[in-house]
Symmetry: C2
Subunit: 346 residues, 2 copies
């Protein structure tokens, strides 16, 4: 079965869910163009998820994907929080922020039973996860809703694990990819490989369809992924300048500049490794900081710095997610980009 | 003009020069199979280069490539050397090595006037460089000898620089590649991108043919590289188990095991970033050590540790170069591997 048949789409193009830089509008445009639009839910509460799914349903009858993080919520570690706040303290001073007013604690919830209720009510065609899969009872509820289930593998071991736990397709996320690494079986970033190396090894290791992600920016990238045995591709960065994305003007300017050639996998924004354009906080504290608390406990403090700095027109603390290939970033409608990408895959 | 026409070869397959794990035998086998065999000269003196070129001439009439490092020789920095020896001192103690007997100083010379004499005498069809290009007068002598000149680019900027300095083709080295990174315009490893992201951007940036390198292990990888616009590929890791390679039994065993899935770009072996299988010294001092002296000044000390450890059957200090895709490593004749790789590229 082709990926198109499996997911009920026309083109083997999945728009990568990108929390913070897009909502329903981008998903709608991509699904209506024959690809699979994705709604990132990592930053939404249950009401927000319901509202965004309703918005999609109102504007397309095509399949779409609803995406969730499924990390284990960490215990608050007061000692580590103190170390992290100490590392950030010169920035608090510089920006005149009283750090004591910033509450510790997670800024985002993983997939849970309340969200499974929403899936059962709203029945999206596809549900995708990042950081592995939720507990087996939650996965069973999603499956019973009729949704096809996808998740990201960054290694051959993760691909095998996901197949054994019942995903319908594996997204092979090469290290070119922007945003959070899906890595979940290892803390060792030395296991993370480029897309060209990862995809054929995952294809050889699993029977389910493999979706290539990371560094694919145009139809030559799609054709290359298909040559490696992928059944389809997931593309994120190339959509960031589309008018339907909510990418900030600051982030758009960086993506359109030569600065976008220098990205790093960093944990300073959230506590988990994610690829972003190198800016001041990445340069000064990272890319990997051992002071950073467990995901997502780094978020509230960095968010406070970011908000204040952005109000002053500065991007020093803003996560400007990007993959390693921004050559496909253009300010064109997402439907046009989807059609162009899909023209190689058929 | 195709890459085959430019270099006078049948298949668009270049065997990557791999100092320390191969000599003339591998180059001969690949050239006789219609690819471009390569002789790495980084560890050879002038007499050794002459001898190896004579051996190739004796066994093939086909074009071959002679490869050189072209780094700037560093001044010995006594303070830094002391810091490095201090970092290694527990290992010296453990292995019973008197570190005072190890001479500081470079273990290898870059391309120079004496080597240019050899090129003028021996007239190889192709000369390739790593770490940029030698001085313009030396490049002019190589060009006047009739050789086509190749060098590696790890970024778009490096590709443009090499084209402006007159190379006949650019090798786009993605970060999946094993061995030394060719990077020469920046010390910032955040500029280094995966092959799938790098190749199309280099193809768009230069007019000369682009050779894709990094993570290509079989004919699907060759087909993918061609889909990205490459005129040919350079493959190294997949040749390491061929009988014509001089890869050590220890290194062969690691390449054939799951350990080969965990590699890192490390400077602990030579002072310059290079991808190798993660072993004890990489884990304990690296992957990137700020104590490591400038390339190639790290070599003599680590070599002493390596030699002693290997005599005890231990690989703790051995550079086991490998790219991120060892799935193509098989103990088959290099001619067969070359034909298989080439069957995708035509």
């Amino acid at each position: 079965m082709t990926l198109q048949d499996l997911l009920g789409i026309e083109l083997p193009i999945i728009q990568a869910p990108m929390a913070g830089v897009q909502g329903s509008a981008l998903a709608i445009a991509v699904s209506n163009a024959g690809g699979l639009g994705s709604l990132p839910c990592a930053l939404l509460d249950v009401d927000g998820i319901r509202r965004e799914i309703a918005a999609i349903r109102a504007q397309t009858s095509r399949p779409f994907n609803v995406n969730f993080f499924c990390h284990t919520e960490p215990e608050l570690d007061a000692a580590r929080d103190r170390v992290w706040r100490a590392a950030l303290s010169p920035y608090f001073t510089e920006l005149g922020i009283d750090a004591d007013t910033i509450q510790a604690g997670p800024g985002r919830a993983p997939f849970n039973s309340d969200i499974a209720d929403v899936i059962e009510e709203s029945r999206p065609a596809v549900v995708s996860f990042h950081f592995g899969l939720p507990s087996s009872d939650l996965v069973a509820r999603v499956r019973a809703s009729g949704a096809k289930i996808l998740s990201s593998a960054t290694t051959v071991d993760e691909a095998r694990w996901l197949e054994a736990h019942g995903v319908d397709a594996v997204i092979a996320q090469g290290l070119e990819a922007g945003g959070h690494r899906g890595v979940f079986l290892s803390d060792d970033l030395s296991t993370q490989t480029g897309t060209l190396a990862l995809v054929p090894q995952v294809v050889a290791a699993v029977k389910v369809p493999v979706i290539a992600a990371g560094g694919i920016a145009d139809r030559t990238g799609v054709a290359a992924a298909m040559a490696l045995g992928a059944a389809g591709v997931q593309v994120g960065t190339a959509y960031l300048l589309c008018p339907e994305a909510t990418t900030s003007p600051m982030h758009r300017a960086a993506l359109a500049s030569d600065r976008a050639r220098v990205t790093a996998i960093t944990n300073v924004f959230t506590g988990r490794p994610a690829r972003a354009i190198v800016n001041r906080i990445v340069r000064e504290l990272g890319p990997i900081s051992h002071a950073a608390p467990a995901f997502p406990l780094a978020v509230p403090t960095v968010y406070a710095l970011r908000a204040k700095a952005e109000s002053l027109g500065r991007e020093d603390f803003s996560p400007m997610w990007a993959g390693q290939n921004t050559s496909g970033c253009r300010a064109i409608p997402a439907a046009d980009l989807t059609s162009e990408l899909g023209s190689a895959g058929l």
